[in-house]
Amino acid sequence: MLKTYFLTAIRMLLRNRSYSFLNIMGLALGITCSLLLFLVVRFELSFDNFHEKGDRTYRLAIRHEADGNSGVMASIPGPITDILRQNNPGLEIITQVFGEQDGQITVPATANKPARHYREPGALGFVESDFFRMFSFGKGNLPFIERLQEPHTLILTQQLATKYFPDKEPVGQVLRLNNQLDLEVIGVIPDVPDNTDFPFKLFVSYASANELSPYEISEWGTVLSNQNLYVTLPAGADYKEIEASINRIVLPHIPKKHQDLKSFFLQPLHDVHHNEELFNYSMRVVPMEVIWAMALIGIILLLTACINFINLATGQAIKRSKEVGMRKVLGCSYRQIILQFLGETFLITFAATLLSVILTEISLPYLNQLLELKLTFSFVRDPLLLVFLGPLLVLVTLIAGLYPAYMLAGLQPIAALKNRLNTQQVAGLSLRRVLVVLQFTICQVLIICTLVVGEQMAYFRNKPLGFNKESVVLLRLPAGNATKLVSYKANLLKEPAIQKVSFTMAPPTSIIIAENGFKFNGSSEPMPFRSHTKFANEAYFNLFDIPFVAGRAFTASDTIKEFVINETMRRKLAIPTAQEALGYKLNMAGKDGIIVGVVQDFHQSSLHHELPPAIITSQLSAYYYMAAKIDMNQKEAAIRHLENIWNKAYSDDVFNYEFYDETFELFYREEVRQQTLFKIFAFIAIVIGCLGLYGLISFMVAQRTKEVGVRKVLGASALDITILFSKEFVKLVLVAFLFACPIAYYLMQKWLEDFTYRIDIPYVAFLIAGIVTLSVALITMSSKAIQAALADPVQSLKTE
């Protein structure tokens, strides 16, 4: 019995190749997309979910508030850790982590090998031995972690151990960090997985961090965003209670000048990857809304594919009705027919799933590249995928197959035999119309969203930033060691390709943000709000084209001497005009100086945020970068020259450079990713929608072949026939448009709310979506309708 069903199904599929192709392709596309999105979503949700104590581990974060401005940060000044440790409110583990952006490792010379230098950006973590008790990196018992409490010790991951010591036992060897510290390798652990926000490869003893200038991580001082404190609660503890205890214990100890630190809260470990307000070491935060949106898009694409299937299958029903009729005459029961067609759907879905596994395999590398992820797809290593695909297969079979099966099984045997389906089809056809409208709505919403997201991105890229980021090369200087290169300044400018140079803590827009308290106008009390501070030399303004509203740049100095403020700072200080601001006294880090200039506001972090009040001043010890404005036509010469000079200044440090406008793009990395996702999946939704449309049209044309024949005999032209069919679809597209507009508008309104600087929703996006779907519908339509219209009328009359 099964065999004949199977045979009928296979032969049916082979006979109607184009139908089968459309069906399998549509489903395969839908399943592939949902599979890819499943992989992405699962990856993003898996961050740091493998730590045994993960569910009771939290990061301590601070809510700060001053002068009406409030915010949160996860940066914990060192003294707070000491206070907590001395008055432990019942925490099982307290451990501080300091992640470094950049670092250089030197493998010392041996008898037969010269010293080797490696830059390891983002791979450096300063941790205590408790870090490994809190987090499950490395398996089982790691006896050597105890020694991490001593200064000058280091644990390597397998990858770096092999890289540094390909032919030697790494443990016991010494590595030099930033040409400052010698560190002894005390152990090797396996590489950390991709799904962690602690992407370290070198775990250096926390005690060593203080010795590395310019950090003063055990002081209250400047708050560094990469200095975090993690705690593990005892099993069963109430985290709200502990949070309250922490506040009770720590708040009284906070010095007066840090009074803006209002309260502490515990951020669950699983939130670290998703909370946009707080930083993490992988520098990649994916908000839950984005993850939900991706899951939703996956479901929507799958649904579109199912709708597609329903359209095609019910259209196909006409061809199957004779068979169903005969089976019923022979006494086949309702249930058996349902099972037969569900079985066929299962077969198609199964074929589509196999195809989608192949498609996923092929497309994953591209997706990985686009999204900068390292997703893997393997049933062997990842049997969970089967748990995803199995139910998916059943679900899709049911959603896609139930209605067509039910429709066919419900046919009257005689009517079915006579192909007299029209009366019974009326209900089916209107359902199909609803489905097509739904599909068009989905397509249009996706198109509109893609356009709006794209528009917002373009706005970012073109918005006046208040400075010029073009033709600027940034060199990251060896930690705390700008002095040497500064002495080569004149030498640098000798090369005509290098037009200007400036030394600074960070370029105008940067992830490196320093916030400082300061005193104003001779007051002994610090101002109730912090300033964003840019340490830079006097050439900074000229190099980045930051225009002055009043005054001038500060005079050259290696320490804080004079100040330049931005317009926002002037307003916050309640100084009516820029001119009047000149001459006011400021005090920062114990140094007095006067305001000598006011510059226009320029953007300092991504456009998600408000422009902050800023102070720019000189401080040689805080310069992490050299910026060089170069002649882009002589790019190579400029870089070569920079490298030459660098090698003279820092013989032990690897030369590195980046183009600022490229780095700048990273600020909008997440948005670009989202846009890419939207683009791809909107396109696929449209493709699937077209397949479904094609199915519906084929059905209608098939159903009306005779009518078309009669009309032609009576003298209708091909155009008349095309118009006859088009009317219907224009209506459907328009109805879909009426649904799509408010939905897309609402979604985009919500999305844009996150941006402080945003576009108004461009109405032309709606227009484009409408026109695109209408054109696609009409083109698909007319190809099929013209085919019917051009067919020999006698031929079409003969087909019964």
Partner: protein, 234 residues
């Protein structure tokens, strides 16, 4: 008294489409006995097919009663009717109605599958029936690859393979030329001689000659019923 296979009393069928009501059958009293060969004749639209569909339990009457093997099945649910069809009825149509995706053999196997006949038995029975209708050499062909006469023979084979109590044929020769038509009629006569009960709708007086009994329908009513002389097979 012969065994009555099917009986109708005051059978009526009305079709209701939108606002128009068509009375296709009214006041039909009929008895079909075991081993009967009945021909139903009448002008186009008089309700022949409708009657056959009632007798074949493919459609339910709107009034009157229908007894199948003595059991009143007038209001039997579709489940029950499907069951009875499967066990007791064989159908032959003017347009053959073979399933295009199945081979000759598979088409003929179908009723046996639905009856739940064991696999080993199916093979033998299908083989035997194919021999009987002379189609065995075409068992692996698809319907589209056969002539009309051959297709109808396959349809007949399919109708009889399940050993039905009653065979219903709606213009079995309607789509065939006279040569093929005669072959089919001879085959039906043979089956009848071997014990099958047959009710056949036809327009052809020549075909009606093969039947024992002719029922004339006009405007949904039985007008005459005459016994036909048994025709000797030539």
């Amino acid at each position: 008294m012969k065994n009555i296979v099917i009986q109708t009393t005051q059978l009526e069928k009305k079709y209701l489409t939108d606002t128009i009501e068509t009375t296709a059958l009214t006041g039909v009293d009929l008895q079909i006995a075991q081993s009967d060969f009945v021909a139903i004749m009448g002008p186009s639209g008089c309700g022949k097919s409708t009657l056959l569909n009632m007798l074949g339990l493919l459609d339910a009457p709107t009034a009157g009663n229908l007894y199948f093997l003595g059991e009143n099945v007038t209001k039997a649910p579709e489940r029950k009717r499907a069951n009875l069809r499967r066990q007791n009825l064989g159908f032959i149509f003017q347009s053959f109605n073979l399933i295009d995706e199945l081979t000759v053999q598979e088409n003929i196997e179908l009723p046996l599958f639905y009856q739940g006949v064991p696999k080993s038995e199916i093979k033998a029975r299908v083989q035997e029936v194919m021999q009987r209708v002379g189609i065995a050499h075409r068992h692996a062909y698809f319907p589209q690859q056969l002539s009309g006469g051959q297709q109808q023979r396959v349809a007949i084979a399919r109708a009889v393979v399940g050993k039905p109590r009653l065979i219903l044929a709606d213009e079995p020769t309607g789509n065939l030329d006279s040569q093929h038509g005669r072959e089919v009629m001879l085959l039906l006569s043979e089956l009848n001689a071997a014990g099958a009960t047959i009710v056949m709708v036809t327009h052809s007086p020549a075909d009606a000659e093969y039947a024992h009994r002719v029922i004339n329908l006009f405007d949904g009513q039985v007008v005459t019923e005459r016994m036909a002389p048994a025709v000797a097979a030539i």
